[in-house]
Symmetry: C2
Subunit: 236 residues, 2 copies
């Protein structure tokens, strides 16, 4: 019987999500959310990923590195239940879990070589920037896709009623930022707000909210079902 086991990251994530707030609760919800998976030196070998580009989707196993120090809890309150009801941690995908292991099925857009480093370009991600990657596996539909699987607290659907408008400053900023960096920030903001990233406890709130995407701080507010992106500010 193995009592404990030492694991070692094989890669690291470079993601648009530079802070926890606003990260989609599951992968695939925000299709414009992108990340690069960089193979770490020991595993940076073309042969190790040979054939991976035949797959449209891959599993990324990772460490919830920001919660490692916080430890785990036997029960948690999933946001999909309105943040009120407690359920067992093994009945959730909470990061506050024993071994702090996460996994996400994401779209593999391309495999690139940047100087000597292999990078997997991913979309539909829910990874925090700098997340350590523990494993990469192909998504195999015949055993991984169980469409009839029942249960869960959320449908993953955003609200159809949400209206989103950008202030003049925000609209102009997005245009310039996209031209300069190639990052499609306006589409990303729209998709994130469509899933209403407010904490469950503040769903009725008219407060202003801020979120960081790459190096851009975005402020927005809500009135009823109308979301307004107030301004965008590049931070350094």
């Amino acid at each position: 019987m193995i009592e404990s086991f030492v694991i070692e990251p094989v890669g690291i994530i470079h993601s648009c999500f530079t802070e926890k707030f606003g990260i989609p609760r599951q992968p695939g919800m925000v299709k414009s959310a992108t990340a690069s998976l960089e193979l770490l030196p020991r595993f940076n070998r073309e042969e190790m990923i040979r054939g991976l580009d035949q797959f449209s989707h891959i599993w990324v196993h990772f460490l919830f590195h920001k919660t490692v120090e916080e430890g785990w809890k036997p029960t948690v309150r999933p946001p999909g239940l309105g943040g009120k009801k407690r359920v067992g941690v093994f009945a959730t995908r909470s990061p506050h879990r024993p071994n702090h292991m996460g996994m996400s099925a994401v779209r593999l857009v391309s495999v690139r070589k940047v100087k000597t480093r292999f990078m997997l370009e991913l979309a539909g991600v829910d990874f925090l920037d700098q997340t350590p990657v523990l494993d990469i596996k192909p998504y195999v539909a015949y055993s991984d896709s169980i469409e009839s699987a029942a249960g869960g607290y959320s449908t993953g659907q955003g609200s159809e009623q949400i209206g989103i408008q950008f202030s003049g400053q925000a609209a102009q900023f997005c245009k310039t930022y996209e031209q300069e960096t190639g990052r499609k920030i306006r589409r990303l903001i729209e998709e994130m707000i469509h899933h209403d990233p407010r904490p469950a406890s503040q769903k009725g709130s008219k407060n202003r909210f801020g979120m960081l995407l790459w190096d851009v701080n975005i402020r927005w507010q809500v009135e009823g079902e109308q979301f307004t992106v107030l301004d965008c500010l590049q931070v350094h």
Copy 2:
């Protein structure tokens, strides 16, 4: 940057597969393949699995404990490619991988309490007996099920043409064994043979094969598409 991380099993598998030969290549292929997941003492708390029984399927993360000592290989030859072509280990689900982590989506049949221990009863498994479990997560169809995902070396379908017959001894043994243990061994043997567990290199072979299920050694042979279960012997 986290350089290494110590993980600890949270459970252990008791499975019908007491040896590697014949284990389905992926979960879900052999629906009669069952296992019990026993929570280890530190995690044997009702509250930790509260609400899990709302889900029809769960993810089990585990350690490929039998290959830990063998280490990993940068490339492997997946059986779905006939065992001939080499691809990168990250483009496969091979157990010879860095960190030796596996994951399977399986059906959660029930949650039982046996004396003081909580047991998750699972079906459609591909776990070797005594596999250490690293994590348990609910299967969430809206993010985990990607039916359109493309790629892969196998369809997971067995051959329709395979005929299976049992010798008189084998048929009688299965009947008695099922009565005594409650284990539906005949159905399990049929489903396993339907997926032709012969190694790719021996697909044309007429040799006799043996496989161990629970404590039963089963001998069978193939002629063309006709499989015959020769005899079953209980071992101790």
